[in-house]
């Protein structure tokens, strides 16, 4: 079964680059332009990973993260926050809401790719270790 990733990003250029990068990893990529579309996509088919922008029109990234974490059916969905909000407070808020990782824009594409790869490698070894990885990175 193929791994799937959901890119939640309202900026089309960035969405395009992410789609390209994830596609190169051989992942099944879907793009949502806003929070509601993201939740709808999750409901259709929960992805393994969400790349989540925080500054979205209307329902923002924090909201989406909270929704997903409050639904037990989506317990296994991994979330990486990708955001231009670079302050420590923003980062801590994101992690406290249950994000697994937090990457500040502009990011290094190699770094992003290696983190995503690490996620899936860790998942293969067992979810406990993955959680541990998240902690270490913090």
């Amino acid at each position: 079964m193929g791994r799937s990733v959901l890119v939640v990003e309202d900026e089309p250029n960035i969405a395009l680059s992410l789609r390209f990068l994830m596609g190169k990893l051989g992942l099944d990529v879907r793009v949502a332009e806003n929070g509601d579309a993201a939740l709808k996509a999750c409901a259709e088919q929960p992805p393994d990973l969400i790349l989540l922008d925080l500054m979205l029109p209307e329902r923002d990234g924090y909201d989406v993260c909270r929704e997903i974490r409050s639904n037990p059916a989506w317990r296994d969905v991994r979330i990486i926050m990708l955001t231009a909000k670079g302050r420590d407070a923003d980062r801590e808020k994101g992690l406290a809401l249950g994000a697994d990782d937090y990457i500040t824009k502009p990011f290094s594409t190699r770094d992003l790719v290696s983190r995503v790869e690490a996620f899936f490698a860790g998942e293969a070894a067992g979810s406990d270790q993955l959680a541990g990885d998240g902690d270490v990175r913090r």
Binding site: E11, N13, I14, S17, L18, L21, T109
Partner: protein, 916 residues
């Protein structure tokens, strides 16, 4: 028929009722259950202002002069409504200093001056004399007329009757008796005469009720109400005249009478007595402030109707208008109402005469006779035993003397004048006190010499311009004196001094006497020095509301034995009362007087105030000084004390200022701090927003650069797409940075503007050339409508183009591809240009139309798919338009789009040239 015995017995019964009320009032006071300790009785006692002059004279005056009579009541109303603080201050001062009369007030204020007190007394007695005679005239006239009932013969020259069978003399004597019985029972004049006040209040009720009864009878008995009365009256030419405010009339007379009556309500000795001396509580004054004007209003309601009715009923000259109140019921054969009208007049007259007599006798005793007696060494009064008997005798003889004097004036002069004229002469005399009183309680610099000079000058002018002419008209002086001036000197004519002929006698006299009075008071005060005692008294009076009542004792030096003080009090107040007051003093201060040898300053001061209540402040000061060793007080001491006091006041004032300043500074600091916090938050937000806005294009650029670098194998078309994004996003980044810098410069005022006169059409053309490509790209139709011949604008051309480009680019951006339309119009609107850019795009929600010009504010719906904007374009546009002195705003366009407007003033210089 009204038999003479009926009228007489009713009169006597009424007087007996007064005695009974006064007696009852005094009894209640002795039991400590005061009858008069309420504001209503107080107000009614003040209504002693309304004498028989009001009762009969107002109607007479109205019948001749129309509404002018109202001024006599306008003055007091103004004083009570507008200046209660004046009366309040007088009450406070008088209580603190145990002032017994208006003469005492002046004497006390100006260094306890005996001479000043005496002068005031003389002026008051001479000035009030006509007024008292007026009351006597009113009573005897009405009495005589009533005896002739129902015949309406005019009383004729009553004064022709022999003295001993003259009713008027009888009236004078009866009134003197009443005044003596109830005004001189106690010897302390500053103690309240409760019985007397109760009786006076009762009289005020009676005269009001009687006048209202006559009024109601005339209006509803003789006629069918006000409407009927006045509509009938309108048929007579001569009557219509009195019912309107005389348009071309002599306003100087109105003003004069208002001013005179304002002075009278304060300065007339009897008004001062009931309002100030007999005042029980300052709170009563606060209620009287509106109750008294109400009384005046009530008693005036029927004046005009009665006057009008009288003129209609008695068209001939036989009946004097002054008697209408009485003659109207008589003519209608209504004995009861006629009798009531007579009683009302009687009560108005007796009230005035009794209070005036008591007030004047107190002044004569305390400020004229006693000071003289005390100075005559041969009498050895200063060392004699009990003087209370002497004091009472002096007062009682004074009352008799005053009434007889009034009678004499009446017999020799009174007949030749109407009631109102006599009263106004008295008012003018009383008004002479006003400058010295006002200066005394508001200006510390007013001196004894100044007050003496002012009073003397004013009084002399009054005598010359009002009293002497009155004598002349009565035949006492050659009439040539009035008509030609003394010795034929025209500019000394009493009614036209220095050639002033523009005003009536009264106004003429008031102008000259007040000029002389006030001028002398101010001039002499400025050039004379105050004695130590004057300074102390001036401070006590002017600062009455700030000082405590016992502050006076701080100015006293020297000592006396308690025995001496006790002795002094016993001599002037009698042993019983002296002991009572001393023990009350001891209780309130918590001391045992029996054990004291030396009287301290406080006790000496107390005794002087008690004596002041008995013999006036000037005499009391003399008496107390005679037993106190070591001078009352030296000038040096006063200066030191005053300086000390003023320094302390000054210091505390400065402290107060300081703390107020501190408070203000704290508040300012707090506000500044809040502002700083707010600015800090805004700056934080701004930085975070900018950072976000910069990171977004940067992210695309970095990602695609890295992708292209790491993946050399991407397809050619993809490579071109990615490179295109990199280039566009780089441009966007550059634009953003430029915008941020521009905006920062504009906001900081550092932007360099190249202002010049520019044609609107040219700016629009250049802007269109810059954005033309956009329209083609999105296939949006553009309509341009520019009014020809528009004057130039004074703008920075490039910035103006920037604004237009921004608006046009926005308009295109929010239009749908292929279906979009944009309208640009420029037209003249007065002295300004109105530019509009309208599109048929998605529009702007009404709630966002105000905030859209804020930094980084993009309409929520527009963010999607429109990455090109910096979020600063409109913010910069607004800064630019503001700088040009214009305004930019947005509205909904027709058909759902947005419509941006810019209003810009045309170049002022170009407009001017165009006009020229």
């Amino acid at each position: 028929m009204l038999e003479s015995w009926v009228v007489l017995s009713v009169s006597l019964l009424y007087l007996c009722a007064l005695f009974a009320i006064a007696y009852f009032g005094d009894k209640r006071a002795e039991q400590g259950r005061s009858l008069i300790a309420n504001p209503y009785i107080y107000t009614l006692s003040i209504a002693v202002y309304c004498t028989s002059w009001t009762y009969y004279g107002s109607v007479g005056f109205a019948a001749v002069n129309g509404l002018g009579f109202l001024t006599i009541f306008l003055g007091p109303t103004l004083v009570f409504l507008a200046w209660p603080f004046l009366l309040g201050k007088l009450v406070r001062i008088s209580k603190a200093n145990r002032i017994t009369s208006i003469a005492d007030l002046m004497s006390s204020r100006y260094g306890k001056s005996t001479v000043l007190g005496g002068l005031v007394t003389v002026i008051a007695v001479i000035g009030i004399m006509p007024y008292i005679s007026l009351q006597l005239k009113a009573v005897s006239t009405s009495f005589t007329m009533l005896l002739d009932f129902p015949d309406l013969t005019q009383a004729g020259r009553l004064a022709d009757a022999p003295v001993f069978s003259d009713t008027t003399l009888l009236v004078a004597l009866v009134m003197a008796l009443f005044a003596i019985l109830f005004g001189t029972r106690h010897i302390d004049a500053s103690e309240h005469h409760e019985g007397l006040v109760a009786a006076i209040a009762f009289e005020s009720l009676v005269k009001l009720a009687a006048f209202l009864a006559v009024g109601l009878f005339v209006v509803y008995g003789l006629y069918d109400g006000f409407g009927d009365l006045f509509s009938r009256a309108m048929a007579y030419d001569n009557i219509r005249r009195v019912m309107v405010v005389d348009g071309g009339g002599d306003y100087s007379r109105w003003i004069t009478m208002t001013v005179l009556s304002m002075a009278a309500i304060v300065c007339l000795p009897r008004q001062f007595h009931v309002t100030v001396v007999e005042n029980v509580s300052e709170s009563h004054l606060r209620k009287a402030v509106w109750l008294f004007p109400l009384y005046l209003l009530l008693i005036n309601i029927f004046v005009l109707p009665i006057a009008v009715a009288g003129l209609m009923q008695f068209p001939g000259p036989d009946i004097d208008a002054d008697t209408f109140v009485l003659t109207l019921p008589m003519a209608a054969r209504r004995e009861g109402i006629a009798l009531l009208a007579y009683i009302g007049g009687l009560s108005a007259a007796t009230g005035m005469v009794i209070v005036a007599a008591i007030a004047l006798s107190t002044m004569m005793c305390n400020n004229l006779i006693m000071p003289i007696l005390l100075r005559i060494d041969r009498l050895k009064l200063t060392s004699r035993g009990d003087l209370t008997g002497l004091l009472l005798t002096v007062r009682r003889s004074s009352i008799l003397f005053i009434l007889l004097l009034g009678y004499a004036y009446y017999r020799f002069i009174g007949e030749s004048y109407a009631l109102v004229t006599i009263g106004l002469v008295s008012f003018a005399a009383a008004a002479q006190f006003a400058p010295a009183i006002l200066a005394g309680i508001f200006w510390k610099g007013a001196t004894r010499l100044g007050a003496l000079s002012g009073l003397t000058a004013g009084f002399l002018v009054w005598v010359y311009t009002l009293l002497l002419p009155a004598f002349a008209r009565s035949g006492w002086l050659p009439l040539d004196f009035v008509l030609e001036g003394p010795w034929g000197i025209a500019w000394l004519k009493p009614y036209a001094l220095f050639g002033m002929t523009d005003y009536g006698h009264l106004t003429h006299s008031l102008i000259w006497s007040m000029l002389a009075n006030g001028g002398a008071l101010i001039a002499v005060s400025l050039f004379s020095r105050q004695s130590a005692l004057e300074r102390v008294q001036a401070a006590l009076f002017v600062d009455a509301f700030r000082l405590r009542s016992d502050d006076g004792s701080r100015f006293r030096r020297g000592s006396a034995t308690v025995a001496d003080i006790q002795d002094l009090m016993v001599r002037f107040t009698g042993r019983k009362r002296a002991e009572k007051m001393l023990s009350a003093y001891a209780r309130s201060r918590g001391v045992n007087i029996g054990k004291l040898q030396e009287a301290d300053a406080d006790l000496v001061d107390f005794s002087e105030r008690v004596l002041a209540g008995v013999i006036g402040s000037a005499s009391a000061s003399v008496m107390v000084s005679s037993v106190v060793k070591g001078a009352v007080v030296g000038l040096e001491d006063v200066m030191v004390i005053l300086d000390e006091t003023s320094q302390v006041i000054e210091y505390s004032h400065r402290l107060e200022q300081k703390s107020a300043e501190l408070e203000r500074t704290t508040a300012e600091l707090r506000a500044a701090n809040e502002r700083l916090k707010e600015l800090d938050r805004l700056k934080d937000e701004f930085l975070s927003t900018i950072s976000h806005e910069l990171r977004t294009p940067l992210t695309s650029i970095r990602s695609f650069s890295e992708i292209l670098y790491d993946h050399p194998d991407v397809s050619r078309s993809q490579r071109e797409e990615f490179l295109g994004i990199i280039i566009r996003e780089s441009a966007r980044l550059t634009r953003l940075i430029n915008h941020i810098l521009d905006l920062a410069k504009m906001e900081a005022g550092q932007f360099v503007w190249q202002m010049e006169d520019v044609s609107p059409a040219m700016v629009i053309d250049e802007a269109l050339a810059a954005v033309g490509g956009l329209f083609g790209e999105k296939n949006v139709l553009l309509d341009v409508d520019i009014e020809p011949g528009l004057p130039p604008l004074k703008v920075d051309k490039d910035r103006m183009i920037q604004v237009l480009v921004n608006l046009l680019a926005n308009a295109v951006k929010f239009c749908d591809r292929g279906k979009g339309r944009v309208w640009l119009s420029a037209r003249r609107d007065g002295d300004s240009l109105l530019l509009s850019v309208r599109d048929n795009g998605i529009g702007i929600p009404e709630a966002e139309r105000d905030t859209i010009f804020d930094k980084f504010r993009q309409i929520s719906a527009g963010r999607k798919g429109n990455p090109g904007g910096s979020g600063l374009g409109l913010a910069i546009s607004r800064q630019i338009v503001d700088h040009f002195g214009g305004r930019i705003w947005v509205d909904g366009g027709e058909g759902g789009g947005a419509c941006f407007y810019i209003r810009l003033p045309f170049s002022a210089m170009a407009l001017k040239q165009g006009a020229a």
